[in-house]
């Protein structure tokens, strides 16, 4: 597969002979759409791993005749990989567009939350880049096979058979116990996506095909994951305490920023890009994540700090934050109390109350180690410090070394 990649990458997922043969028969240059179409055409079964229909739907697809290869640069050859992961999300060039409710029968209503096409593309590219920037044997990010936006026609062509006709092995969420924003069965997912694409001009589905990270404790693994994701595996098995696992993830977050130039703002336990046990997922909407606290990263919307636009966006957010802040700690406290008191009792949720706890320039100055003076001068100093510290985050922790072999 490396010849189809933009990034120079050693190891990772590759195509088996059958896939290579079929791709070579195509009369034109191979695109990501071709790869997606081909792999989806061979799907014999699938599982819905995650269905937060407003944001993303994640499937595990199992191929029939095709095989992928996994090379983790170790001496031991790995068995062929028969499954891959599909992530579907909506994109629109104008994310302020008001989209319609999918169906009246869902309460709360389901309205797609599209992201910008560039952001969706960045997600796939970030994963590819991270894969190529870490030693193959320690990469903790799923390798990306292909990613592309799909038109409504392409979506129908590729997913109709899978979602509407090949659903012998799926699990679905009972409507009574479903989480907010979850559509449910594969047929509903298909109808939901197609309906939205037909209703809204410019709305597209973005699909990312990636390595399936799957664990079955006590069984052989079909890919490299046994070693690379050992901490995650042990954590899920219950043989590792949370603290050890958290330290490992903290190390990965640090490296992603320093070496991968990516800062994620969405690293939490409900981001499911891999599952632990077939029987415990998705049987009840309210408990679907309880048994598999996963911290496999979701890079949707992450800040790619090799992109000027993302750096500008962070700087703007910071300026906005500073401008909305009170000057001193005392002022912030008084103002926050006033805002909380003014809230209607029924709207006093924990999150809403904590959001009213405003920050102040004085505390920001202390955090960044900047001299606190008047507001205008302090904001200027803070912005300079923020940019400088962001640059420090991006500085690589390690130096390249000469290797003697």
């Amino acid at each position: 597969m490396n010849k189809h990649r933009n990034y120079s990458q050693k190891g990772g997922l590759g195509f088996g002979d059958a896939i290579e043969d079929d791709l070579s028969k195509l009369p034109h240059d191979i695109t990501d759409i071709d790869i997606i179409r081909l792999l989806l055409s061979d799907v014999k079964a699938f599982h819905i791993l995650s269905d937060t229909s407003m944001h993303a739907i994640v499937l595990e697809c199992i191929m029939d005749k095709y095989e992928l290869t996994m090379d983790d640069m170790s001496k031991t050859p790995l068995p062929p990989v028969k499954s891959f992961c599909v992530k579907l999300g909506f994109t629109h060039s104008d994310i302020t567009t008001r989209l319609d409710v999918y169906s009246d029968k869902f309460d709360p209503p389901i309205i797609p939350c599209p992201i910008l096409p560039a952001k969706a593309r960045a997600e796939g590219e970030i994963q590819k880049r991270l894969w190529s920037r870490f030693p193959e044997s320690t990469t903790f990010v799923p390798d990306v096979i292909a990613h592309s936006p799909l038109t409504p026609e392409q979506f129908k062509e590729m997913f109709e058979i899978i979602l509407k006709k090949r659903h012998d092995q799926y699990r679905f969420v009972d409507y009574k116990g479903r989480n907010d924003g979850v559509v449910g069965t594969p047929e509903h997912i298909y109808d939901y996506v197609v309906t939205q694409l037909q209703r809204h001009r410019g709305l597209q589905v973005y699909v990312i095909l990636m390595e399936m990270i799957k664990y079955k404790p006590g069984q052989n693994h079909e890919s490299r994951n046994l070693q690379v994701f050992q901490p995650l595996h042990k954590f899920r098995e219950g043989t590792m305490s949370r603290i050890y696992f958290a330290l490992r993830v903290a190390a990965q977050l640090t490296l992603m920023a320093a070496k991968g130039k990516v800062v994620s703002h969405d690293t939490h336990s409900n981001n499911v890009m891999g599952i632990t046990d077939d029987t415990k997922n998705y049987s009840d909407g309210s408990k679907m994540f309880d048994k598999s606290k996963t911290f496999v990263y979701d890079f949707g919307g992450a800040f790619d700090l090799t992109q000027q636009a993302d750096i500008n966006s962070l700087n703007e957010l910071f300026i906005e934050l500073c401008q909305s802040a009170m000057l001193s700690s005392g002022e912030a406290t008084v103002n926050s109390e006033r805002l909380v008191d003014a809230m209607q009792p029924e709207k006093k949720t924990n999150e809403a109350v904590l959001l009213k706890n405003g920050i102040c320039i004085e505390e920001l100055c202390k955090f960044f180690g900047v001299e606190f003076t008047d507001k205008r001068k302090s904001i200027a100093l803070l912005l300079a410090s923020f940019k400088k510290k962001l640059a420090i985050v991006l500085l690589c922790l390690i130096k390249s070394r000469k290797i003697n072999h």
Binding site: A246, L247, A250, T306, E351, F367, C396, I398, S400, R401
Partner: protein, 198 residues
Amino acid sequence: MFDKKSKNKPLDVHRRLMMIAFIDFMYNRTQEHPYCQCGEILKEVYPEQKGSKTIFRVNITSLFKDFRSFLTAFNLLELPVGNLLKEVVIDIEDILSPDERITGQLPENSIPNLSLVHTLGSKRSRGDYSAHTDTSRTKKTHISDTGQQSSAAFHRQETPSLFSRIVSWRPWSWKRGGTRKIKGIRNRKSRRNGKILH
């Protein structure tokens, strides 16, 4: 595997984690979400910062649940007491195996411009960065840039708690193909750095 110029690896890691948490808070606040999403992880790295606190009658179990509490408890220049950053450093070194060939450093022309490039590229800013990691200032890891030092923190550094001793022991192997003995690793690191890591 850290940059040789880096004299205080835990502080390097601390700064990065703090900026990650800050960005997390900052962005999520714009999405009407008060928490730091990676706080679930970071509260384990800074166990002393856990514990409940009440803000406007809302009970929070970690400082990563509230932006203001986070800002008042941490700062970028000094290490908070009772952190497990040395453990994170070991993990980082473990992830990046010794035979790694990829430098990880982007060519400077591939990094976007503006002040960021200036900061990354200029000698002044690099000097400034290394100044913060000067051993003379950060020898005991809790000495701030102003030279102030918490006696409690100093005591804690000198006599690590039972808790930190326990967590510094890792019974499993992260490494491929064999058991890694922490003691051996420590001795090797101690020889390399010329000092004892507790």
